[in-house]
């Protein structure tokens, strides 16, 4: 018998439909697709308001992932591609989305999406994605004024957290809670390289550290790394964290305490910011075209 290997890195895919609304009443229906390196999101907006979304793990190629994410939303809402007026693709796989009318960079889309999620007072966005980490400054209209990103190194990204979850055999969704279940905050492990952090984590375990203590040390390392990125362009309030890691309170709370700034709470799934921004851009493009 083949023993099933638990996939500790596996985060929860999610979907949502606003049941108070009916897309048949909407004048403009737009779709935003964000094909990231680790997750793919599809968001549907009705007249520039969030209506439904679906997040999945990115598969072997961008077109299939985009299709799957989109079909997930369609299955829940009864929408078909014919009902969509305009589709904008974003994320690293944005040029490979066959049904998209336009591709827009993820920086612009994240700015726009976070502006919607956190409200017009948001000025700094920390987007912690699967394989990159970005700091984005936006103005009151959600337009990007400055940004900085790390996409060369896994330290400070969701992928890095997955590696540690797998090593410790702790589900990635439990990491945040468990990182606070410790007597005293331990010193951080290496924040310069995930591979080194991994060997350090193994050494700490052998030394007799509890898994939770190692988790805390890794969450701290990741937070320190990300904060040094943020500090290069500064944090202007209000502040919001988006991307998958925003759901990890072990990292989010530590970032807040290092920066001395509280992050804006939102009810939205933090992973949809890019796709939401794309759907909102799509709405703007449609309404502009109709006016013209």
């Amino acid at each position: 018998m083949v023993e099933e290997k638990l996939e500790y890195w596996r985060w929860t895919e999610s979907s949502h439909v606003d049941s108070d609304r009916d897309w048949r009443d909407a004048r403009v229906i737009t779709l935003g697709i964000d094909v990231g390196s680790v997750s793919t999101e599809a968001v549907v907006c009705l007249d520039g308001e969030l209506y439904a979304y679906n997040t999945i793990r990115t598969g072997a190629n961008s077109p299939d992932s985009a299709n799957l994410a989109m079909e997930g939303v369609f299955a829940k809402t009864g929408l078909t591609l014919e009902d969509i007026h305009y589709t904008v693709g974003t994320g690293y796989g944005r040029v490979n989305i066959p049904f998209a009318d336009k591709a827009i960079t993820e920086i612009a889309c994240h700015g726009r999406g976070a502006h919607y999620m956190g409200g017009p007072t948001i000025r700094t966005i920390l987007d912690m994605g699967g394989q990159d980490c970005k700091v984005i400054h936006i103005n009151e209209l959600g337009k990007v004024t400055n940004f900085l990103m790390n996409d060369k190194c896994a330290a400070g990204t969701g992928r890095g957290m997955e590696v540690i979850a797998d090593l410790l055999e702790v589900p990635v969704t439990e990491i945040g809670e468990r990182s606070f279940d410790i007597d005293e905050e331990p010193p951080a492990v290496s924040d310069i390289c995930v591979v080194f952090a991994k060997s350090e984590a193994m050494a700490r375990l052998k030394e007799g550290w509890s898994k939770n203590k190692v988790i805390a040390a890794y969450c701290r390392a990741m937070s320190e790394r990300v904060c040094s990125l943020i500090n290069r362009i500064g944090v202007e309030e209000d502040f919001i964290i988006t991307g998958g890691i925003a759901k990890n309170i072990g990292v989010a709370r530590r970032i807040e305490s290092i920066l001395g700034v509280k992050a804006r709470e939102t009810t939205f799934d933090s992973q949809i910011a890019g796709a939401l921004g794309a759907a909102l851009f799509a709405y703007t493009l449609v309404t502009k075209k109709n006016k013209g």
Partner: protein, 258 residues
């Protein structure tokens, strides 16, 4: 005179006993967590192999990143100096040394007689080190030896976009999905490490012949990629290249005991 050199590396601990300037015995073991205990046991076994007692050993010098853990050593020396001494021992006159270990790689420039003139080290990132090859071989489900050999058969150059080991692993997975041949992926991995390493060498400037130390010297696929990148037709590799720093430390020990 009898001396000992101990190299406490990231992955393995290496012990060398030298007798009148010749290697009397050498032994390696996994470093693990209890570096001091592992090193102590390895030293005892190496002394037994060489047929010497602790009292006969005039001086013990430790090197490697865990060298400070060895409280029983008489002195310490940096890895860079140890490598330079080893190069002068094996290949007098060779002034460019490359060392690629489990988690570190470095380029060293010497005067050819064991004195260090310049060095460049990558210790901030696992890309460009031995652990990179290991994780890539694992991603392909291949043994390390097979992975190294296969790379030599490749005639295609595929650039790797990812600089980070963790990201490269995902890139390898997508290459597998695109049905890229394993030999070509293996070569892409070795080319990527070689280009990282050669950028370190460029910082200290390549001159004349090049000595290669460290466990990666066992990997013919990597050696080929490195020679291509450095545009040299051969590399000077000592027997059991992972012991170079321990040998260098034992040489330093004999100077210090004298």
């Amino acid at each position: 005179m009898i001396t000992a050199g101990i190299d406490v590396g990231n992955r393995n601990i290496k012990v060398v006993i030298m007798k009148e300037g010749k290697i009397a015995s050498r032994l390696a073991g996994t470093a693990g967590f209890e570096q001091r205990e592992v090193a102590f046991k390895l030293l005892a076994s190496a002394m037994a192999d060489a047929g010497v007692t602790r009292d006969e050993v005039a001086h013990i010098t430790a090197t490697g990143m865990g060298r400070n853990a060895l409280d029983f050593a008489d002195s310490q020396v940096t890895d860079v100096t140890a490598a330079a001494r080893a190069a002068a021992y094996f290949f007098p006159g060779v002034t460019t040394i490359i060392e690629v270990g489990a988690e570190e790689s470095r380029g060293i420039k010497t005067d050819g007689k064991g004195r260090v003139l310049d060095s460049a080290i990558n210790e901030k990132c696992a890309a460009g080190s031995g652990s990179f090859t290991e994780s890539m071989a694992r991603a392909l489900g291949m043994e390390l030896d097979e992975f190294a050999q296969k790379s030599l058969e490749s005639t295609v150059q595929i650039p790797m976009n990812a600089q980070c080991t963790v990201f490269a692993e995902s890139e390898v997975v997508s290459l597998i999905h695109q049905s890229t041949e394993k030999k070509d992926i293996a070569r892409a991995v070795h080319d990527a490490i070689a280009s990282r390493v050669s950028s370190l060498v460029r910082r200290v400037k390549l001159e004349g012949e090049v000595a290669l130390f460290g466990g990666m010297a066992y990997n013919p696929g990597f050696c080929k990629s490195l020679m291509d990148k450095l545009k040299v037709d051969h590399l000077k590799i000592p027997e059991q290249p992972e012991f170079a720093d321990a040998i260098g430390a034992a040489i330093v020990a004999s100077k210090r005991a004298a």
